[in-house]
Structure formats: C-alpha cells, structure tokens
Symmetry: C2
Subunit: 574 residues, 2 copies
C-alpha cells in the first residue's frame, strides 16, 4: 500500500532524503532556468497564438504538478516549440485568434490532453506512443521546425501572414512582403544574427577560454535574455513603437489566474484528435529527454508514471490560464547542466516565474515581438535536420518512405496530417513486411548438424524432402502466404513426399495460422505428402499441445531439424 | 513473352490439351450445375434486392470471363449469399430498392469491385486480403448467415420488413407479424422443412442405399429444383397468386442485356468502401475454395491471377445486367463432384444458363418468392457456426476478442461495420502483442552450451552479466520497450557490468530499433556497462555491418551466446 502510493507520488520517496546540499544546488539551477525561461515562455505563447503572459502561466502550475507526480529528477515542463505549433494549428481551424474563445479553447486542449495522458498512465497505455517510429519523429520535428521558422518571419518583417503549412505561409509572406516595416526588420534580423552568433561563435570562444561545457551551455542559453534587454531598451529609448514596431504591450501583473476549460461537447469533439496527437508527441519528446538525462545518473524512469506526471501538468495548465505543455529538451538540459539534483529545482523555478509574472511584466511592455520571433527561429532551426533522409535511405526503403512522407505531408498539409500520415504508413509497411515473411528452403551443411539456406550455401538435400524455415511468427497476415508457398512448391515437384517446417524463428502461432497449418496438412495429405515440424519453441508447443492439429498431423514434431531429416530418411528407406 | 501471356490468360495452357474425354466430363458437370444454379441465382438476386433475372445474367458473362482468366479448374463464379447481402446493404444506403437507379448502382458496384480486383491482381496486392484473419472471417460469415436468414423471413411470411442488421430486422418483423399471409407461410415453411430434410434426412438415406458421396452430394444439391417445380405448379394450379402469395412474375425472355455502369463521381465515391470490402471478402471466399479443390488434384493456384480472373468476371457482370459475383463454395463443390475437368465446364454452364434465360423464364412466372427465400435460408444456415467462439476462447484472448467483436458489430450494425471492426481490431491486437515482446533473461544450463529462461530452468548466471533474449523482431513499436526494460534492469542492480543481447529470434532490426540500440549502448556507457550481441542472423548482420552502431558499440558481437558469456567472463577476470 505504502509502496504503491510512493510509486504514484514519487515526491514521497525523494522528498524524505532532501538535504541542504541538494537544496543549494537546486536553488542555483532554478535561478538560471528562470532567467532562460522568461523569454522562451513569452515566445512560445506567441507561437501558440496566445498573449505573452500565457507562456509564463503555462510554466508555473505545470512545473509544480510534475514535481509531485513525475519520475524524472531533471525534466523541466512547460511550453515547447512543436507542441505550441500544434496548438496553434489545432485552434486556428476552430476559433479566431485573439478572441476570448481562442484562449478558452487553448485551456480546453490542455485539459483534454491532460486527461488523455492521465488515462493512458492509469491504464498503462504508454505503449501507444511506441507506434511513432524514430524516422517519423525525426521527419516530423524537422518539418515542424521549418514551419515554425516560416511562421515567425512575419514578426521579423513586421507584416501580416497566415498559414499552417509551409506552402500557405510562403505564399502569404510573399503577398505581404511589400508591407515590410524596415525598423522591425532591422531589429529582427540583428537579433536573429546575434543569437546565431551566440550559438556558433560565442560557444567555441568560451570553450577556448577554458570554460567548462556545462557553464558554456548555460551562458549560451542566456543569450536570448541579453537580446530581450537590449531590444526592449532600444524600442523604449528611441520611441520605435510609434514607428510601427510591434511590441508585447501591456501584460497583467498577477499570479496565474484560476480558469476553467470549456466542457462543450462540440468543442471537445473537435479537439479530440489534436489533443491525442499533442499528447503522444509531447509524451515522446518528454520521455526521451527524461530517459537520456536519467541514464547519465543511473536513475530509473517509469514511462506510465511519466504519463501521469505530464497529465497532471497539463490539467494544471488548463486550470491556470495556460496551454498544452510537456517536458522540453533545451530547458531540461539547462536545468541538468546547471546542477539540479531533485524535482525541487522545478518548484523553485516555478516560484521564480511567479515572481516574474507579478513584478516584472511592466518591464517587457516595450519588448518587440520581432525579438521573441528571433529567439524562436534560432531555437527551432537547430531542430531541422535532413540527415535522417540520407540515413534512412541507406538503411531501408520502408524507413525512408516513412520519413519522406512525414516531411512532405507535414510541410504541404500541416502538422496533424503529417504525423498521422507517417504513423499510418509506417504501420502499413510493417504489416506488409510481416505479411511476406522470409521463407528459406534449407539443406544440411555437409559434416555438421546445421541447416542453411540452399540459395546461400552448398548444402545436402533430398529430392523427396523439402525443408522450409519461416523467419517470422505465423499470424493471420502471413498464414495464407505460407499456404500458397507450400502448395506451389509441392505441386510443381511430384517427387516430394515430406515437408518439414523448421520453426526456430516462430515466436507465436495465432489461430489463423493454426488453421492454415491444418489446411496445409490437409492439402498435403490429398497430395500424399507428410507434414513435419522441427525446433518448435516451448511457449508455441505449449499452445499447440492442446489443439487437435497435432493429432491430425500426418507427420511428427522433432526436437531438431537434423533429427527430423534423419528420421524422415529412415521412413523413406523403410 | 509467350510464357507471360500464358500466365495472364491461363486458358491458353489448358485449352491446348483439351480432348474428348475431358469434354464429355465437362458437359455432364455443366448440366448438373446449370440445373442447380437456376433457383440459386434467382434467389441471390432477390437477396441483393434485384429482379430475379439479374441472378441469371450475373452467372453467364462472369463464368465465361473467369474461364479465360482464372487459374482454378473447378471454381464456379456467380452470385453468392454473403456478397449479395453486402450488395443489398451497400445500395440500400444510397438508392431506393426497385428503382432503375438501384439496378444501375448494382452494375456500378460490380464494375468498381472488378476494377479494384483487376488492379490488385496487376499490382500483385493480393496480400491485402491476408489481413482478414480466419477468426474474423468465421465470425463474419456466421453473423452474415443469421442476418440473411432473418432478412428472408419476410418472404416466408408474406409480409414487409426492412433492416440491414439483426436488430432492425427482428423489430421490423415483429411489427409486421400480424400481417402474415397464411398461404404464403404454409408454402414457405413446408419448402424450408423439405429442404432441411433433404440435407439432414435424404443425404444419410442415399448413403445407406449405397450411393457414392459425389452423386449423393449432387442429388442433395438438386433438392431446391424439386421444390421450385412443385411450389410453382401449386401456385399456378390453385390460383394462389390471387390470394396474396407473392410470385416472381414476368421475367424478360432474353440473353443478358448490354449495360453500362454509372460513372458519376458522387455515386462511385459512395460505393468505394463497400466495393473494397466486397472485393476482399469475395476474393477470400473464392481463393480458399479454389485452393481446397486444387489441392485435391495437386494443381496450383496463382492468387494474383485469381484476382485478375475475378476482376474480369465482375467487370463482365457490370456490362451484362448483373451485380457483384465471386467464386461460390457450394456451386464449385458441385461442379467438382460432378466431374468437371477444366474451366470449359464453366463455359458450358454459361451456355445452359443463357438458354434458361431465353427459354425457361416464362415457366417461373408463378414461382413463389417464399420458395426462393426457403432455398436461401437453408443454404445460409449451414454457414452459421458459433463453434469458432469456443475454439478461439480456448486458444487465445486476442483471437476471441476479434471473433466476438466481428459477430456483435455485424449483427448490431451491419456487414460493413462488422468486417471493418474485426479487421481493425485484429491488426491493433497484433501490433499490441508485438509491441510488448517476450524478453527472457537467460542463463546457462549446467553442463551444456544452451541458455534458457532463468525463470523456467535451473541455470548458471553471473551477477555482473545480464543475458537477455528478445523473442521478436525489433521494430519501432517495441524498440522503446526494450530501451526501458534494459535501463530499468541495469539501474536497479549496480553490480552489472555487461549486458548481452541474444539475437537468435530477431529476424529484422528497423531504423528505429537500430537507433534504440545506439541509445541503449550510449546509456549503458554512461552507467559504465558494456553492451554485447550474440547469435545475430545473417541478413540482420549484413545490414548492421554498414552502420556506425557496430563501431560505436562498447562490446562485441559473438557467434553464440555461450562464446559471448565465456569471453565476457575472461574480460572480467583480466
């Protein structure tokens, strides 16, 4: 009982051992992460189509709830780029951006996603996320990064542009290009250039100066803070807001508000699929970050418990003016590198952000939106990586097809269509592959008891005996394939008197396959050919034993293929 | 060239060897099948919601076209019960029965289904049908049989009733029960009773009298002809048509008309899914009959060519006033038992039916619909078999779930929903199973080189070495499962220095799984644990060799698990 409560509420286990050293490490990490999170949170709110303060709100309650229910000690939960883009894409089809309804829909999306994550955690359905293959994720992230970057160009140029796929965005940007606000463009381009330099130029510089990798990483991540400060002062001092530079403007000075998501069945119905996709994508992103960081310290992550932690975080976001959140890569790495020891670091970060939300918001009145767009662009372009195309092409056609489809559909039709197409195609290709399993005709390697493929090796065979090795579990999708294969092999060669199936690679036989074996046995009997099995695995044999197939079978089951051929030869000689 | 033409047009191969003995055998079979087919064809047209003559038309051109393009020597193509029911279900949602539009929609459904079958044959996509598992088919046929029988009760009772699932039908029948026409009911019940007796009583009787199984089968199958003749005479002689007994009425005396399916995109769009389901169900029914009969004579069936044969047959049906057809079980068995040697028997049957369509239709003017309903009921109730429920329950939960779902959804929501639900569920369950593969921790069986599950056997292990055997190919759906499993196993036991994956049951490693192995290797390195592989299969090794994973791997690849443990022990001792 106590143990299961500790499992469900991990804070009870690490909370007991908490001490002064961990406290000071956690506090230092929290300060660093808080500074880094402020511009990032504002920027992702903008990307999601929400007012800037929503980004701060979405980082406070979720962090605390994850601290209580999550298993990772370093994961930092909050708005992340891809999920924010998916939020914007989902909501734009339903309500108009900037309206009250939009904010409520964002809360509802977070609430629905939270409920789904929670349910998946409780019912241990985390395996669903496994159907998102690595190539599909890689393609999706790359394509999303491009869309996000394109969607931010309007802020850099100070123009209007709309669209939720690359095509729409590019066309819209081209149409509005003549309306470019040049002052905005200068700020945006300088900010972007500076942030790129921080990554590409400053980082090597600091490393040459002898700073540790952890500290360098942290300093580089605070680059956006410098840009925020400088550009805000510039806009304020030079009065650029009056010259058409779009600024964040008035942000309420308050703790996160208490909010309620909508329970309208129509709205929830429309949000169902996006919420599911956001849950899955967010979970996959989060768990892989968590596992990577945990491995560095030899800690364990419980995927089902992570679902509960993320679910609680999203429900928290929906009740406090936020939008869908998940464990982010960059913020978690900063947290880890800054020395966070326990989830308490997250709680301290939440307190820091709460203070920011209450006290610092007047300071960002003059923050230009172009600066936030620049931080987003630089962050997401590091996600864009087309090398997966070459890598998958070099490895397997099926993987390549899945990546390419995901990238093209995401770019051309948007995030939901892209990830769905990738998942469906990779499942179909997998089913296709397993429906045409590799079936090798085998013969005895001279002087050994081994049997190998007759096409690859010089082996001994007997014209009256056909030995086939099926390199796949037998189930409905390939059962009939085996039927056809055997019947065609036997029908074209009248000498054959015995067929031996070597079952060493068969991990399961389902009912369809069992019935196919019965059919094969029956058809072979009609052709006066005996069917034998060899090397049947224990669990498979356990199941077969109870079935009348074994009694009906014209031949026998042998422990090894060698024994099978040996005994059958004796039968033929007799 | 010649060979590929012969493959595409099988008639060129058997046609050349045709001789007098085959001719006389084929002629005899054709006469028997023709007599049996007349009432059956009329009845299935009625079931499909079409005028009786459509059943004859649907048996003529399709048989001839299948003769030219099909590979089975005994298969008889024409209307069959389940496909006729599916036709009625598909069309009833779109057009009203009895209208001209209904007949055109039936032609279009046949044409669309024919085009799909043809395309699947040309592009060798026959494997798609394999996703219809045996339990799903068994459940579907049983449920369809019940629906068909229920749908015919209205003809037996002489009332109106409608519905495309069991629930609707039963409610509708109950509502209209008071309107029962008692004369019709007497004819219907007597006809049904007689036909049941022919199957259950006459068959054993004839066998006791010493008739061969083949001849008995043929005589029993002609039972419906006797009922047709007797009840037609009764209705005519007693003037029962004036007393409310519904009769077939005037049937045009003609060869099949030349017709054109509709090319309306809207109609074809609505028919797309039903046409696909009808194609798949029809193909599966047909190919299993063809394979069973071919096995009896050691002949070969080419599934892709069968698709072409059935595709041509359905296009033929759509151009000659028919509706969707396929290779039927009972007619093919009669054809086979009656001694048909080549597809020419089918062509002669077609001629017989053409003569019937031209000359005999006036004779069936007074044929009561109740008689046709009786022949349908008796035929389909032999398909109803709930034993698959017990059998699957006894074998595996997944198979049982698939059968039960198929039966319940078909009965409650109709044929299309039922078969779709069954297929989707069985695919999902299969994916679920392979996403949580059996992973055994293995140890050495004392005194041998064998490694077995530590939970099942007394084996030797080393606290510093973990050997894991994965009983499934590694692909995206189970890659992360393996990651979690290994990380959790290693994180909870700090003694572990080596992990060995025994890969004997791994038939494939896709890109996701390869990346998972890289991740596992990286995480184990962080925990100062080495990763080794053993017993990697040839084709898997071929692919891995080209990847940098093998160079990055902290450990080695060993030929056998025994060698792996032996070498790792030496490493530890050094």
């Amino acid at each position: 009982m106590t143990k299961s409560i500790t499992r469900l509420v991990p804070i009870l286990s690490w909370g007991r051992e908490y001490n002064r050293s961990a406290l000071s490490n956690d506090l230092v990490a929290a300060v660093i992460v808080t500074i880094m999170l402020i511009p990032q949170s504002l920027a992702y709110a903008l990307l999601a189509g929400l007012p800037a303060e929503a980004g701060l709100y979405a980082s406070i309650a979720p962090i605390i709830l994850y601290t209580v229910f999550g298993t990772s000690r370093a994961l930092a939960v909050g708005p992340v780029a891809v999920v924010s883009l998916m939020t914007a894409a989902a909501l734009s089809n339903i309500v108009e951006q900037g309206t009250m309804g939009y904010a409520v829909a964002a809360l509802s999306l977070a609430g629905l996603s939270g409920a789904m994550l929670l349910a998946m955690g409780i019912f241990r359905l985390g395996f669903v996320a496994n159907f998102l293959s690595h190539p599909v994720i890689a393609g999706f992230i790359t394509a999303s990064g491009l869309i996000i970057a394109a969607s931010q160009l309007k802020h850099i140029l100070g123009i209007e542009a709309q669209g939720h796929n690359l095509l729409e965005l590019v066309i819209s940007l081209a149409e509005h290009l003549p309306e470019t606000n040049w002052i905005t463009a200068v700020i945006g381009i300088l900010a972007t250039g500076f942030l790129f330099w921080v990554r590409k130029g400053l980082k090597p510089l600091l490393q040459r100066l002898g700073l540790g990798a952890g500290l360098t990483g942290v300093l580089v991540k605070t680059g956006p803070v410098a840009v925020v400060v400088v550009t805000t002062f510039a806009v304020w001092g030079l009065g650029l807001a009056d010259k058409g530079v779009k600024i964040v403007g008035e942000v309420p000075q308050s703790l996160p508000p208490l909010t309620l998501p909508s329970f309208s069945p129509k709205l929830l119905g429309q949000l169902l699929l996006p919420a599911f996709l956001i849950s899955i994508i967010g979970f996959v992103e989060s768990i892989s970050v968590a596992q990577t960081l945990a491995a560095k310290k030899g800690q364990r992550i419980d995927p089902d418990q992570e679902l509960i932690g993320l679910g609680a975080a999203n429900i928290g976001a929906s009740l406090t003016g936020g939008f869908p959140v998940t464990g982010g890569f960059s913020r978690s790495v900063v947290n880890f590198d800054a020395g966070a020891e326990t989830p308490a670091a997250g709680a301290f970060t939440a307190i820091g952000l709460a203070i920011a939300a209450m006290a610092l918001t007047p300071l960002i009145f003059f923050l230009p939106k172009a600066t936030l767009a620049a931080t987003i662009i630089v962050a997401v372009l590091s996600l864009v990586d087309f090398s997966i195309l070459g890598r998958s092409l070099n490895y397997s056609k099926a993987d390549f097809a899945a990546v390419l489809t995901t990238i093209i559909v995401t770019l051309a039709m948007g995030v939901e269509a892209g990830v769905s197409a990738g998942v469906v195609l990779s499942i179909l290709l997998q089913l296709y592959k397993s429906s045409k399993p590799h079936i090798a005709e085998v013969g005895q390697v001279p002087g050994t008891e081994h049997f190998r493929n007759i096409l690859r090796h010089k082996v001994i065979t007997d014209p009256r005996i056909v030995s086939l090795r099926v390199d796949e579990s037998l189930y409905f999708a390939n059962a009939r394939f085996l039927e056809d294969k055997i019947q065609n092999r036997v029908a074209k060669d009248k000498q054959i008197r015995h067929v031996i199936l070597q079952c060493s690679a068969i991990n399961e036989i389902d009912l369809s396959a069992l019935e196919s074996l019965e059919t094969i046995n029956e058809r072979l009997r009609e052709m006066d050919v005996q069917l034998h099995l060899s090397e049947v695995k224990g669990p498979v044999m356990d199941k077969l034993k109870e079935q009348h197939f074994l009694r009906e079978m014209t031949g026998n089951v042998y422990l090894s293929q060698f024994e099978a051929v040996d005994q059958v030869r004796k039968l033929l000689a007799a």
